[in-house]
Symmetry: C2
Subunit: 427 residues, 2 copies
Amino acid sequence: MSLLVLKFGGTSVADVDRIRKAASHVKREVDAGHAIAVVVSAMAGHTNQLVALVEQAWGFKERSQNGGEASAHYDGREYDAVVSSGEQVTSGLLALVLQSMGLKARSWQGWQIPLQTDAAHRAARITGVGVDDLKARMLDGEVAVVAGFQGIAPGNRISTLGRGGSDTSAVALAAALSADRCDIYTDVDGVYTTDPRVVPKAHRLARISYEEMLEMASQGAKVLQTRSVELAMQKGVRVLVRSSFDAPDQAGLGEAAGTLVCNEDEIVEQNVVSGIAYARDEAKVTLLKVADKPGVAAQVFGPLAEANINVDMIVQNVSEDGRYTDLTFTVQSADLDRALEVLRKAKDAIGYLDLRGSTDIAKVSAIGVGMRSHAGVAAQMFSALAEKGINIEAISTSEIKISVLIDAAYAELAVRTLHSLFGLDSR
Amino acid sequence: MSLLVLKFGGTSVADVDRIRKAASHVKREVDAGHAIAVVVSAMAGHTNQLVALVEQAWGFKERSQNGGEASAHYDGREYDAVVSSGEQVTSGLLALVLQSMGLKARSWQGWQIPLQTDAAHRAARITGVGVDDLKARMLDGEVAVVAGFQGIAPGNRISTLGRGGSDTSAVALAAALSADRCDIYTDVDGVYTTDPRVVPKAHRLARISYEEMLEMASQGAKVLQTRSVELAMQKGVRVLVRSSFDAPDQAGLGEAAGTLVCNEDEIVEQNVVSGIAYARDEAKVTLLKVADKPGVAAQVFGPLAEANINVDMIVQNVSEDGRYTDLTFTVQSADLDRALEVLRKAKDAIGYLDLRGSTDIAKVSAIGVGMRSHAGVAAQMFSALAEKGINIEAISTSEIKISVLIDAAYAELAVRTLHSLFGLDSR
């Protein structure tokens, strides 16, 4: 008997028919003799409706128009009370469906477990999971159906973990239960070497290390919430990403069914590069002829940080005469207009000749823990792109990742080129 | 400073605009210096949607068609987890709206208070309300926004109080808080001497006793849940029924704004009859030529009770020869077909000549605590109806009520006749 945590996202519980489908996966695992906890999200779209009600109640639009009081000012404790109700509904419904199939099951709200969090409402962090009662019932054959995304904060108030928090709920629960595995059922059947819509030869990875998954996730592969991967890595929870649309009989494959996110040492045959990620949602900002003097970087990036704008890649070219420099960096596309405004206001303080912004860029990354022990990966990558006539505008690297910023028009070509280069095309 | 409990029903919190209207009533009372708890229902229609999801999850329709497993068989604890989410949403939204108006406010779920109930899920009874923390915060100027209808049952599970349970929540909370009054905001502005759609001369009662209100409620005046009135009577909670659609400035009238349900001794000028109620949702069943022998009543009413069919009025006429009797009684119209089926199946056991059912009847009642000290009310009533040519098919009485069963066609005439007879027409 294994102890498994299964997690179903919003599209997998979007209506009662889909909840029934999810329940058939649960039943298969119970029939196989495993002790099961299931974590559920709210029905797809439901959380958005609840958030809209909260903003309407607070008079969000009126307040924004009247100059300033932002959404952040409303009481996160009440936001959490309202928004957490979505998971409460699906947990009860799944318990009922499981019971209708003849299984023992009960729903657990965050406060009932309890899944304790800090007081950072709307984006709380888990501080502890009390699983004694829940685990005893699981081992007694009762399926624990857990409302994801929610917990209980100090003061006995309902908290939520932020968007995508149900993945984190599932991993935290798996860690607390010392579960054998945490199965994330989603609308794709695993993690691919790259986006199959761009590269038809992309293939599903049987296994991927936590570190690689973290890079894949933050580089635009939207399979798992970054936070949940960090937590899984920290706690050593083995996470299986698999499809909730699999036929139940095909799905009885266990770890063969999806992609297992696990420790590096569980991966026997390791490629140098495991995957190619790309992101189009970044924008490039260039400051021309900035005075090349100490403190100028602080004058540029200080105001951006204050405005809560995250800066990703940064490139600085020293000019020929050494007095001026051109400064290029990237931000999220959604933040571009705000970033430009912030920098315009700070023009006198910074001192620059001109300011330019562009969203016609893409970031393409090669990711693999094998890079640690293989030199020359970057050089291979740059020359392959150069052969295709693709100009690299900026570079950033980590121990297991090389990212390049290129013209958006070449994004697909770059991804396909690197996918072939590193031997990832399926045979 | 008074301590008040305000309750808003589903139509009064049907959308955010209406919640804002409800909040303006709350603000008026806070501005007047009172300590306030507000009890809210779910948005109108929301509870029905949630119940439909529960029945779909349980496969209610399929199960009914396949012969038998009734809704009662599904797990009430899961029903309660799902359905209670409606009040969770409105409590959070109202707290946010109040905060947006500059008031201190917070939501309270049943388990947070805690409002303890027994384990009779879906229709639980309140066993205790722990108000120490809640009351301290109220006295400190924070509005307590309480999710109605829900509580916490043994085993730390969410329970609900049955349909209309928010009235009961409000009264129980008022009792536990020793509140000065419990104001029930609803879509009518009080309790009338009779239905104003039938008798335009009907007028709002300034005060009505608990006993009379109980009879009015169970006789078809759907203003307050019977259970909440019983509880108010038992605990001595003064209940004010008033309209949530009043303009806030007109509404600052306190007890002059609606109908106060209170102890008899608080009512100075007491009419003999306070109101005329009528109900059209009963049906008449007649068994012809039943053997007039001991035990026959048990043979008729036993099977009906087993089938959960409530019998209201019962009339038995002994036949001339003393061997047979005709038995007439009333049931809810909705139960008529089932009642007839039960009696058909029991025909051999009971032994009767013929069985008849009819829904063309109405029950009209005169209600008033003054009857206790006034003889002759029944005689007055019967002769007034006779004068109008209205035939009385059955009679039932209590200390403070006389009900007659008549042909449905004469219902309005009977109500108008009795309303005039007992001096209730507004001047």
